[in-house]
């Protein structure tokens, strides 16, 4: 191990006490971008839209999520088979730990005691105990599970299977699959609407988003995307974000190089904004005025003024950028 474990233990102790402990400055005003071919996160100042630096992390960082307290960013690193915890104040890694095989997407239980992680090679959803840093359970699902999201009450966890074209719904208490919902081809990512009555799922090879009713766990609507001058085969939606007011969903259309603004109530695509090549991860700033879109094949990030539906600036970031988390 390249870092002494004591440091990790300390960091975690710190994290555990973060809620009650001494006030820590929050909101760095930065966007963090993970890039698959770099072992670093790129930091971009949300106001000036300039790159301010990089943070060293483990190999092939992809999915990221803030731990409760908002000062520690957890990063899953596919090639390292590890997760890293980054202290965004010091911009330093607090230590890595083994996190399954080729980890990609994960989500946390509301109390952050459990991480739910898709184990792609195994075809299972892993329950990862954050205190002991051990896999406590593994629930078989369809092959190549990918997107993971926990219901706000923490009772259910949803995971997509890219190969089975299904969303599996797992009861977190029993670890049992309670429903298998057929969606479009190659389902990837999730977003809940404002009251979590709907779960939106992107279908990369379906050129669509399936909308699941969380009440009866069935697909109640499907949004098919169309971009003028492009065929359905060129439209590969992956990443989704929901506006704070729940009125607009932002969907990165992958190889169609656009982001769709979808009116949640009418399901209509209101705007299509041109971004870089293969729009991948999308993220909003706190007041929802800016949408950040990382472009996997042009190694940059486009920042969009959401009110005007206009791109403001495109900023070079790392190699094959994957996800953006905004902390303003």
């Amino acid at each position: 191990m390249h870092r002494p474990p004591i440091r990790l233990a300390l960091a975690l102790a710190c994290f555990a006490g973060a809620a009650a402990g001494p006030a820590v400055a929050k909101d760095t005003g930065l966007a963090y971008i993970s890039s698959e071919k770099d072992s670093t996160l790129t930091m971009v100042d949300v106001k000036t839209l300039e790159v301010t630096g990089v943070i060293k992390t483990c190999k092939r960082p992809r999915h990221m999520k803030f731990l409760p307290g908002g000062t520690q960013l957890m990063v899953a690193c596919g090639d390292a088979n590890k997760a890293d915890i980054i202290d965004v104040q010091t911009k330093q890694s607090l230590g890595t730990f083994a996190f399954g095989d080729d980890p990609e997407a994960f989500d946390l239980s509301p109390d952050a005691k459990t991480a739910y992680i898709s184990l792609e090679d195994e075809g299972a959803l892993g329950f990862f105990d954050m205190a002991t840093k051990k896999l406590s359970k593994s629930v078989p699902v369809g092959k190549e599970p990918e997107g993971v999201i926990t219901s706000p009450d923490g009772k259910l966890v949803y995971v997509t299977s890219e190969v089975a074209n299904k969303v599996h719904v797992i009861d977190t208490a029993s670890g049992k699959v309670v429903a298998n919902i057929a969606v479009g081809k190659r389902p990837r990512r999730f977003a809940f609407n404002a009251d979590a009555s709907e779960l939106w799922v992107s279908n990369e090879l379906g050129a669509s988003v399936s909308i699941i009713s969380t009440k009866d766990l069935t697909v109640k609507d499907t949004i098919n995307f169309e971009v003028k001058g492009m065929r359905a085969d060129d439209i590969t939606p992956v990443s989704l974000a929901m506006s704070k007011d729940g009125k607009t969903a932002y969907v990165g259309l992958g190889r169609a190089n656009h982001v769709a603004f979808v009116d949640v109530a009418t399901r209509k695509v209101e705007q299509l904004v041109l971004v870089g090549k293969r729009a991948w991860g999308v993220g909003l700033n706190k007041d929802g005025s800016r949408l950040f879109v990382v472009n996997g094949l042009s190694d940059d990030m486009t920042v969009i003024d959401t009110a005007a539906a206009k791109p403001l600036k495109t900023i070079p970031v790392g190699r094959v950028p994957y996800m953006v988390v905004v902390d303003d």
Binding site: S161, V163, K185
Partner: protein, 388 residues
């Protein structure tokens, strides 16, 4: 009837009912390969010629079934893979008839083109050719014969598009001595013509160190005397083509069966989730996943997905119905949806351009256009095909 007998009957009925509801439907997939396959002779496989098979297709078939176990279990569908080897065309025909009688839903073929041509029409059930690239088989328009391996013409079109996108417009064509080489050379020249590439010369070569035949066997002599942007070599055997790069008179790239290849799959492909598929295959088969393995995996997935649409009655009729539906699309881990062309039953798909190390380009090349589906710029398109 005594009371006791009546009770027994009820019990038996109940049991029968329980058995019926628990009874999973069975899907039988046949796999037909050639006996004593010289392509799979360990000494030959060891040489690792790109574009040639790396092992039995049944390894990819088994993997495809295994990776679907969750959906199959969920749909209560059991899969039986029945692998049979045959020694000749007559054997192939008899085996196909036996499969049809036995209720197989589909048969995957790893057979020479001639055997397929003479046996496919003897049955009605869907057959999927996973190993032969010859265009004549596609042009036979046999309604129950599907192809997941890209045709020779698709590969040649992919190569021509790649040359065109690089502006390497003058090529020297070299072709080998076998009848297969002659046939493939004609296909390459059709693609060269389609993309307005200029063949500066078309020359035969011979694998020979005989000084009396050095004009045919010496790479420097074969590639001298004229200027060109690339050498396109057609060598179904592979030994001559493998030694051609870096031995040409002019410092120019070699493409075709040496240097840069156009293939259906490559084991170092990095995009569209393919590393996971490749890793799964290597874990299961202990060897790299090559084009023929991808084709067999894809064919199995097609049959499974077709059967899973109607898991209670997953027979040949259901599979045939699904495979011929225009909206039956598959995920081939090549970034776009792939599907069977209605006219010649060929799976339309992107082609990977590889030097055996990495994938340097994907065809269709950027900028190539088509009125309906850009994948149909690879291979014989509907208006050109003899099939309706």
């Amino acid at each position: 009837m005594t009371e006791r007998a009546g009770q027994q009957l009820v019990a038996a009925l109940a049991l029968g009912l329980a058995a019926a509801s628990l009874h999973a439907a069975t899907l039988t997939i046949g796999v037909l390969s050639r006996a004593d396959d010289e392509r799979l002779d360990p000494k030959r496989v060891e040489l690792g010629y790109l574009g040639q098979p790396g092992g039995p297709i049944s390894q990819a078939v088994d993997m495809a079934v295994k990776e679907s176990d969750y959906e199959l279990g969920d749909a209560k569908l059991q899969v039986k893979v029945d692998a049979v080897e045959v020694a000749d065309a007559a054997g192939a025909k008899a085996a196909l008839q036996k499969f049809e009688k036995g209720g197989a839903a589909a048969v995957l073929l790893d057979l020479p083109a001639a055997w397929i041509a003479s046996s496919a029409t003897a049955v009605k059930l869907p057959l999927i050719n996973t190993a032969d690239a010859s265009d004549s088989l596609r042009a036979s328009c046999t309604p129950n014969l599907f192809h997941t391996l890209p045709s020779e013409r698709m590969r040649a079109d992919a190569m021509a598009q790649t040359l065109m996108s690089r502006r390497w417009q003058k090529v020297l064509v070299l072709y080998g001595p076998s009848p297969e080489d002659a046939e493939r050379s004609a296909v390459a020249q059709a693609s060269i013509k389609r993309y307005a590439i200029k063949p500066v010369a078309v020359k035969p070569f011979k694998l020979s160190a005989d000084p009396r035949e050095r004009a045919l066997g010496n790479p420097l002599l074969l590639t001298g005397g004229t200027d060109y942007d690339a050498v396109w070599i057609i060598d179904s055997d592979g030994e001559f083509a493998r030694a051609l790069p870096y031995r040409t008179q002019l410092p120019r790239p070699v493409v075709g069966d040496g240097g840069l290849f156009a293939l259906g799959w490559a084991p170092h492909f990095e995009r569209f989730g393919s590393p996971q598929l490749i890793r799964r295959f290597e874990k299961a088969a202990h060897r790299p996943m090559v084009s023929q393995d991808w084709a067999a995996w894809m064919a199995t997935k097609a049959v499974l997905e077709a059967a899973l649409e109607q898991p209670a009655s997953p027979g040949a009729a259901q599979v045939m119905k699904a495979l011929t539906r225009p909206d039956f699309v598959l995920d081939g881990f090549k970034g776009v949806r792939v599907s069977f062309r209605p006219w010649d039953r060929q799976l339309r798909q992107p082609i990977l351009m590889t030097d055996g190390q990495g994938v340097v380009a994907i065809a269709p090349a950027e900028g190539v256009l088509h009125p309906k589906n850009v994948l149909d710029t690879l291979g014989l398109d509907q208006p050109e095909s003899r099939c309706k």
